[in-house]
Amino acid sequence: MLEVDAITAGYERHKPVVRGVSLTVRPGESVGLLGPSGCGKSTLARVAALLHRPDAGRVVVDGTAAAGWRHRAPRAQRTAFGVVFQQPRLSADPRLTLSALIAEPLRANGRADEVPEKVRESAARVGLGDELLGRRPHEVSDGQLQRACVARALILEPRWLVCDEMTAMLDASTTAALVRVVEDYRADTGAGLLAVGHDKALLTRWCDRTVHWSELEA
């Protein structure tokens, strides 16, 4: 169970962009969060993934309340989430090759010995070939880079996925392919999903249920 409870969050003092929002995702469930751009839904997604400290409210992950945010969150709690962002260019360290990019979470957790096998497995899941894995972000297209970012998000086998406008920059075919990847992963592992976006047609097709931002704000 992922519970986001009465969250108020923002980037400047006394100017919250999210006010008292609550949302619950059950294990294995996929929830689409719809809203216009700039409404604060991305901020909520970052709070839910323990990447942004809210001004008020709490996040409960599988029964345990989040003890902190960003580096202050216990590693086990942080890595329970796989996150994918809107812009693959900004989500990839420009100096790492795609295979290093995908392997990064394993290395950060001291599991470097599993790298070759897991990277191969994860890259195959998103359809990236060996030749592409040796390249750096500026040598591949947005779609290919976003595939690598999805592979990175899945490599630690998180119980929760947070996809923030994952496909906004992508064409229809790559969108369908990446949604397929996420859904296959969820079918295998029973992971829950919070997908944030503005494309109603996409989210209704993708998710078990969708909620509109306006319904959430107190």
Binding site: H71, L90, A92, R95, A108, S141, R152
Partner: protein
């Protein structure tokens, strides 16, 4: 049917003629490479001269030959001689050696200090960041030549006090650049992704943030070399740097002031040129580096 076939033929034909490619922007590129090559050649010549000439030509810096004092440039002495009859070309090369040594060492030390302080301040954030940066502001508010003079004055004249003085007064700007760069990188989604992947604070700093600022810090270091050379020259010119008998570009210019008033221009001009030309060459290299860093040029392919 015939119409369709005709269209197909026409389409074929439009593809067939050898495609005439129009090339763009050749001229600008060649001036750029020309500038880069000249800068690189001069810098290389300077480095080679500084490394090879002293071992090949053993120069006694104290030796004087009053019989041939203040000779204008000639074949035997291409740069002429100074007021005690020493060959100016050799003294310039020796002087450049000292200046370059001071410049490079001081720039490297300053860059290391600046990068460490800037990155630490930005990575720690909050109160630590504010405290460190106010300290940097405090240091910057003192004119750094004055600060440099103060540091040099605490030691006996020599090369190393000058290096320390220049290094300790030049890391401030690098610290600011590095801090700003780290702060901007820290808000990138890829840092979020790393944190979500379980990376520690240390790992994020060392693996994702520092490598991102190193090109900028390196550029700052290269730009600092000429600056440090000028600083050394200024200190020596004021008589606070190296002892007068030891050739440095600053001491050369300083000791030539007397003869300049008497109309002997060469003891001032050539050391002066030795300060200016390598400075421009290094700045040219730094310019090329900066262009490489420019993201617009880095992505040659915009798809």
């Amino acid at each position: 049917m015939a119409e369709v076939a005709e269209k197909a033929v026409k389409a074929e034909m439009s593809e067939q003629p050898a495609v005439a490619w129009r090339v763009r922007g050749v001229r600008r590129r060649s001036t750029r490479t020309w500038r880069l090559r000249t800068s690189a050649a001069i810098t290389l010549a300077v480095v080679v001269a500084v490394l090879l000439v002293p071992p090949l030509v053993q120069l006694d810096e104290q030796a004087v030959d009053l019989a041939s004092k203040l000779q204008p440039p000639s074949l035997a002495h291409p740069f002429g001689t100074d007021d005690v009859g020493r060959d100016l070309l050799l003294r310039c090369v020796y002087g450049l050696r000292v200046s370059l040594l001071v410049g490079v060492v001081a720039a490297v030390v300053a860059t290391v200090i600046g990068t460490a302080v800037g990155a630490a301040a930005a990575a720690a954030g909050g109160r630590v960041d504010r405290f460190v940066m106010r300290l940097v502001d405090l240091f910057s508010s003192v004119p750094h030549l004055l600060l440099g003079i103060f540091i040099v004055a605490m030691f006996r004249p020599g090369v190393w006090p000058v290096v320390v003085s220049v290094a300790l007064t030049h890391w401030l700007s690098t610290a600011r650049i590095v801090r700003a760069e780290v702060l901007s990188l820290r808000s990138r989604p890829y840092v979020d992704a790393a944190i979500s992947g379980g990376a520690s604070r240390w790992r994020v700093t060392v693996r994702h943030l520092l490598p991102g600022v190193l090109p900028q810090a390196g550029l700052a270091a290269v730009l600092m070399v000429p600056h440090a050379i000028w600083h050394e020259s200024a200190l020596s010119f004021l008589g606070l740097g190296l002892p007068t008998h030891q050739a440095s570009l600053g001491t050369l210019v300083q000791s030539a002031r007397g003869s300049l008033l008497a109309g002997d221009w060469w003891p001032t001009l050539f050391p002066g040129l030795f300060i200016i030309v390598p400075t421009l060459a290094i700045a040219g290299l730094a310019g090329a580096w900066r262009e490489r860093l420019n993201p617009r040029r880095r992505s040659e392919l915009m798809l």
